[in-house]
């Protein structure tokens, strides 16, 4: 059985459920601009589902990595909306820069750093070049993690219970790290262990949405 297909499908579907439940909360119990946060996770979910499909079709593998990278960058641009929501000018500027840099990144990926993924023992190995891996990790560190922390603060802003912001920040941050590890690892034991980690994160993420739904009052 193709482990990559199962893993990416399960992760993709759960990310989509998480994004969907969060989207339904934004505007009702959470600020509207946090819809961008759920769009980012929709993008990530779609990338995972595309990689799941590609793991069954070797001919599509190479293109799937470029499409997945593009969706990751799209998600990052959505998160710039979350990061710089308070200042409209900075937000527009950062999104414009983000789009330009994303196009350059994809152009480099197609022409100079072409993806070389392969399937080994049912595991999809991205085999990413070091420079590309460093860029992607920097995107996670400087956009995804801070945006997750901003979202955690906004989510818990109206919950006056000590430790909630800390708990939400932790869940959002560690889920991002777990997703990076899941994409990065190359051996079967590592992929399985990181998948377990991601699974625990999903349980916490989905329950965190349930808690928001119960604790926060609906906006009139």
């Amino acid at each position: 059985m193709n482990l990559a297909f199962i893993g990416f499908t399960v992760v993709g579907v759960v990310f989509a459920i998480y994004a969907s439940t969060f989207y339904s909360l934004a505007g009702k119990r959470l600020p509207v601009f946090l819809r961008s946060y759920s769009f980012a996770y929709f993008s990530l979910a779609l990338a995972f589902l595309i990689w799941a499909y590609a793991s069954l079709n070797n001919g599509f593998l190479k293109n799937s990595v470029i499409i997945g990278d593009s969706l990751l960058l799209l998600g990052s641009i959505f998160l710039l909306n979350v990061l710089f929501n308070q200042n409209k000018n900075i937000k527009i500027f950062s999104v414009a820069i983000g789009i330009i840099l994303s196009i350059i990144f994809i152009w480099l990926r197609i022409n100079y750093y072409q993806p070389m993924p392969f399937i080994e023992s049912g595991i999809l190995i991205f085999n990413t070049q070091t420079i590309i891996a460093v860029i992607l990790n920097l995107i996670f560190i400087f956009i995804w993690l801070p945006a997750n922390l901003v979202a955690a603060k906004k989510v818990t802003a109206n919950i006056s219970i000590e430790g909630m912001t800390y708990a939400y920040s932790f869940i959002y941050a560690v889920s991002t790290i777990a997703a990076i590890l899941f994409i990065t690892f190359k051996t079967i034991p590592m992929v399985i262990i990181s998948f377990v980690t991601l699974g625990i994160c999903f349980v916490m993420l989905l329950y965190s949405n349930y808690v928001i739904n119960k604790l926060l009052p609906a906006k009139p």
Binding site: E120, I125, N158, S160, I161, E162, G163, M164, Y166, A167, F170, I171, V174, I177, A178, L181, F185, K186, T187, I188, P189, M190, I193, S194, V196, T197, I200, C201, V203, M204, Y207, S208, V211, K214, L215, L216, P217
Partner: protein
């Protein structure tokens, strides 16, 4: 602040929560301790991936990562546990319990995984 109280008063779930007492300093400190340990654990993880070509160093870092993972997880659980004691809301208590146990396991596993990366890179049993 008044707006926050007003909003909470409109929510029946929140109405059951007794007034929050001022947070004692002893319950704030562990959050910084937990963050420090988690940060240290990730520094070790980065060190392992950096030195993964050195068999001796990565082997040592494997044990350091395990120890860091244990301490970080313990410190995190302690922090969440203190927050849990300060609330009476059952929903929040379950949430904190889930985050405490789940988060502790995740922190430990991530450090453990990093340790394994170092271990596999140092030994011929490496799978790839």
């Amino acid at each position: 602040m008044n707006e926050e109280i007003y909003q909470n008063n409109q929510n029946p779930q929140v109405q059951n929560i007794p007034p929050v007492a001022p947070i004692p300093q002893s319950s704030i400190k562990p959050s910084y301790k937990a963050n420090n340990w988690i940060a240290l654990a990730y520094v070790v993880i980065i060190a392992i991936t950096w030195f993964d070509s050195d068999p001796v160093l990565s082997g040592i870092l494997f044990w350091v990562a395990l120890a860091m993972g244990l301490i970080a997880a313990g410190s995190f659980i302690n922090r969440i546990n203190k927050a849990n004691k300060n609330t009476q809301n059952k929903l929040v208590k379950v949430f904190f319990a889930l985050v405490g146990v789940g988060g502790g396991v995740v922190i430990f596993i991530i450090a453990f995984i990093a340790g394994l990366v170092g271990w596999f890179s140092a030994h011929p049993i490496r799978g790839d």
